[in-house]
Amino acid sequence: MTTSQTEEAPLSTTAERRAITTANPGSTPGAEWAIVARGLKREYDMGGEIVRALRGVDLAIRRNEYVAIMGPSGSGKSTLMNLIGCLDTPDAGEYWLNGQLVSKMDDDELARVRNKEIGFVFQTFNLLPRSTALQNVELPLVYAGVGADERKQRATEALERVELGSRLGHRPNELSGGQRQRVAIARALVNRPAILLADEPTGNLDSRTSEDIMRVFESLSSQGQTVIMVTHEPDIASHARRIVVLRDGQIESDEPRDRFSERLSVHGSSVVG
C-alpha cells in the first residue's frame, strides 16, 4: 500500500467485484480488497415511518483504487459513507474492511478501526481551533497511544507530505482554507489508514484551491493510497478513476471514469440525478 507507483494501478473489473460480493456470507475477502460490502441495508425510524436509506448495497473496492461515490440527496450516499467510515453499523449485510468483519463490532472496536484504518477528510475541515497544526495531526496518534516523541516525528512527516512542513506551529485561524484542508489530510494519513474517506473535500474552497487539493489526492493515490471520495459534483468526481452512482438506496452504476465522462457529456448531469 505504501509502495510508490508511477503508473495507475489496474482497476478491479466488474466480474471480480461481483465474484467477491456474491461469495458466501462470512468468507473473508483476500488481502487485495480494501472494502467488501455484501448486501448492506440500513433503515431509520423517522417518527413512525420507516425510511429505507440503503436497500441492499454490494460494493467492492480493491487496494489503491480511487473511487468517487455520487448521488443526489436521499440516495443513501451519506448513509453509505457513514457505514464505510465505521461511524454506523448496517442493519443487515456484511462489511469487510481490510480483512476484518466490521459490521458486527461494538462501539469500542469500531473506534479502534476508525483510528487505525480510516482517514476522514471533511468538507468543513473540522480541525481543533485551539491546537496547532502539529497538535491536530497528532490527535489520531494520541488515541492510538503513541508516545510523544514518535507522535511528533510522524505528525511532522505527514505534514511534510502535504507540503506544510513550515506551518507546524500555526493554529487553524492562521491558515488559509487550502492549508487547513491539507492539515486535515495529513491528520487523516498519519496513522497509515487502509482508506482515505473524503466527504466533499473541496466544498468550502475556491476553484483554484480545489484544484490544488485534488492534486494532493491524486498524488496520494499514485503513492498507493486507497481513496474514496464522496461528492455531488461531477467535475470533482471525474478526478477519480472509478465512479459509483447511488440512487434510492441502491447502486445505479459503477463504471470507470472514461465511460462515466462519456455518459455525462451525452446525457448531461441527469446522469447523477
Partner: protein, 414 residues
C-alpha cells in the same frame, strides 16, 4: 499522554475566556478560601494559646489556688457568678498548711493583687496599674526576668522593704527618658524604690501585659491588697506533670478540710491550671471547626453546581468537536476522561486561587485584629485535593453525556 493533553487544553480554554472562567471558578475559590482562612485562624489561635498565651499567663505544670478563676475567656452565666460570690476567700492562715502539704521540690509563691494608683515626680498625672504583692519565689515560678536592675530577695520580702519591680509600660510612662532604677515611685502615696524593670510580656488579644508593678508580699502595699488577711492566690510550680498532680491533690485535700466540705460537695475554690482555660478555647475551637466545615462546604457545593453547568454548556458547544474526535478514534472513555480532566483542572485552578485568597485574608486578619493566624500546610494540600475532587464529581454527568454522543449526529451539529 492524553491526560497532559487534556490539562493543556483545559488551561488554554481558561486563558481564552478569562472572565467567564473566573465566574465559573468563583464558587470553588470561595469555598477553599473559607477553608484556608478558618483553618489558619484555628491554627494560629491554637498555637498562640498553647505556646504563647498560656505559657505567659499560666506556666507549664503549675496551678494557682484561688477563690475564683483568674483568666475568664468567656461569659460566666448568672448562676455561676453568684456561686463565685458566695465562696469563702483564701486567707493568710491558709498559707502555712498549704505550703506544709506540698510535695518536696515544688516551688510556691503567694500573691495578692489590686489596681492601685501610682505616681512619680516625672509626670503630672497618676495612673492605675496592676499591683502584685508576691513572695520572692514568684519571679522564678513565672519566669519573670528583668532587663534592668534586679528582683527583690526573700530577705527584703521578710523585712517588708518598699522596693518594686516595674513593667515596661510603667517605666515608659512614669520615667520617660530617665533610668528608673533607684528612683522613687509612689504607690498609693507610699514611697517605693524601683529596683528593676521587667522583661516585656507582650500582649494578649491586643491588651498590653506590661502595665504592672511587683512588690514584696510583706511590704506596705499589703495593707491595701491584703485587707482582712485575705490573699488572692497561692501559685504552685512543679517540675513535671506527675508532681503537679500530686501537689494538686494535696492542696485540694487541705483546702477542703479547712473549708469543712463534705465529700459530696464540690470545691468552693479553684486550682487554676492552663488546661482549664485551654478547655474554653477548645470549646470555641469546636465552633470555629464547625464554621470551618460548613462555610467551605457551601462554597464547594455551589462551586460544583456551577462547574457542572458550565461543563454541560461546553459539551453542547463542542458537540461537533466531540464528533470529530470520535471519528478519529476516540472511544467513550477517552471523551469521558477528557472532560473529567477539564472539569478537574478548572476546579483545581479555582482551589489554587482560593488558597491564595485565603492566605491573604489570614494575613489581613492577623494584621488588623488581635487574632493571630497561621496558614497550615496540611490545609493547602486538603484544599487542592478537594478542588480536584469537586471538579471530578461535578464533571461526571457532563462528561458522561459527552461520551455517549452519537458521532454522526455530533458531526452534523453547528
Amino acid at each position: 499522554m492524553q491526560f497532559l493533553e487534556a490539562v493543556r487544553l483545559a488551561l488554554a480554554q481558561i486563558r481564552v475566556q478569562k472572565l467567564k472562567s473566573f465566574f465559573t471558578l468563583l464558587g470553588v475559590m470561595i469555598g477553599v478560601m473559607f477553608l484556608i482562612a478558618v483553618v489558619s485562624i484555628v491554627e494560629g489561635m491554637g498555637r498562640y494559646m498553647q505556646d504563647d498565651l498560656m505559657g505567659k499567663l499560666i506556666p507549664i505544670n503549675s496551678f494557682e489556688l484561688r477563690r475564683n478563676p483568674n483568666v475568664n475567656l468567656g461569659d460566666t452565666d448568672m448562676a455561676t457568678w453568684e456561686e463565685y460570690q458566695r465562696r469563702p476567700r483564701i486567707k493568710e492562715e491558709d498559707i502555712g498548711p498549704v505550703f506544709a502539704a506540698l510535695p518536696p521540690n515544688v516551688a510556691a509563691a503567694v500573691r495578692s493583687e489590686d489596681n492601685i494608683t501610682v505616681s512619680s515626680r516625672y509626670v503630672p498625672k497618676p495612673k492605675q496599674v496592676d499591683a502584685q504583692n508576691v513572695t520572692a519565689s514568684y519571679f522564678d515560678i513565672k519566669k519573670l526576668g528583668v532587663t534592668e536592675g534586679r528582683v527583690f530577695t526573700e530577705q527584703e520580702d521578710a523585712m517588708g522593704t518598699p522596693v518594686t519591680v516595674i513593667g515596661k509600660d510603667v517605666k515608659d510612662y512614669f520615667f520617660p527618658n530617665v533610668d528608673p532604677v533607684g528612683r522613687e515611685l509612689r504607690v498609693n502615696h507610699i514611697p517605693y524604690t524601683v529596683i528593676g524593670v521587667a522583661e516585656s510580656q507582650g500582649s494578649a488579644f491586643g491588651i498590653s501585659l506590661d502595665k504592672f508593678i511587683v512588690a514584696p508580699y510583706n511590704s506596705p502595699l499589703k495593707q491595701l491588697t491584703n485587707r482582712h488577711g485575705v490573699i488572692d492566690g497561692i501559685i504552685v510550680q512543679a517540675p513535671d506533670e506527675q508532681t503537679m498532680l500530686a501537689a494538686e491533690d494535696a492542696v485540694r485535700a487541705v483546702m477542703r478540710t479547712r473549708h469543712k466540705l463534705r465529700p459530696e460537695q464540690k470545691d468552693n475554690f479553684v486550682l487554676e491550671t492552663a488546661d482549664q482555660d485551654l478547655e474554653f478555647w477548645n470549646k470555641i475551637k469546636g465552633y470555629l471547626v464547625v464554621a470551618g466545615i460548613a462555610l467551605p462546604a457551601i462554597g464547594l457545593v455551589v462551586g460544583a453546581i456551577v462547574i457542572m453547568n458550565i461543563m454541560l454548556v461546553a459539551v453542547a458547544e463542542r458537540t461537533r468537536e466531540i464528533g470529530v474526535r470520535k471519528s478519529l478514534g476516540a472511544r467513550r472513555r477517552d471523551i469521558l476522561a477528557q472532560f473529567l480532566v477539564e472539569a478537574a483542572t478548572l476546579s483545581t485552578v479555582g482551589a489554587a486561587f482560593g488558597v491564595g485568597a485565603g492566605a491573604v485574608i489570614a494575613a489581613i486578619i492577623a494584621a488588623v485584629s488581635p487574632l493571630p493566624t497561621h496558614v497550615a500546610g496540611w490545609s493547602v494540600g486538603v484544599a487542592v485535593m478537594l478542588g480536584a475532587g469537586v471538579g471530578i464529581v461535578a464533571g461526571v454527568y457532563p462528561a458522561s453525556r459527552a461520551s455517549r454522543l452519537d458521532p454522526i449526529t455530533a458531526l452534523r451539529a453547528e
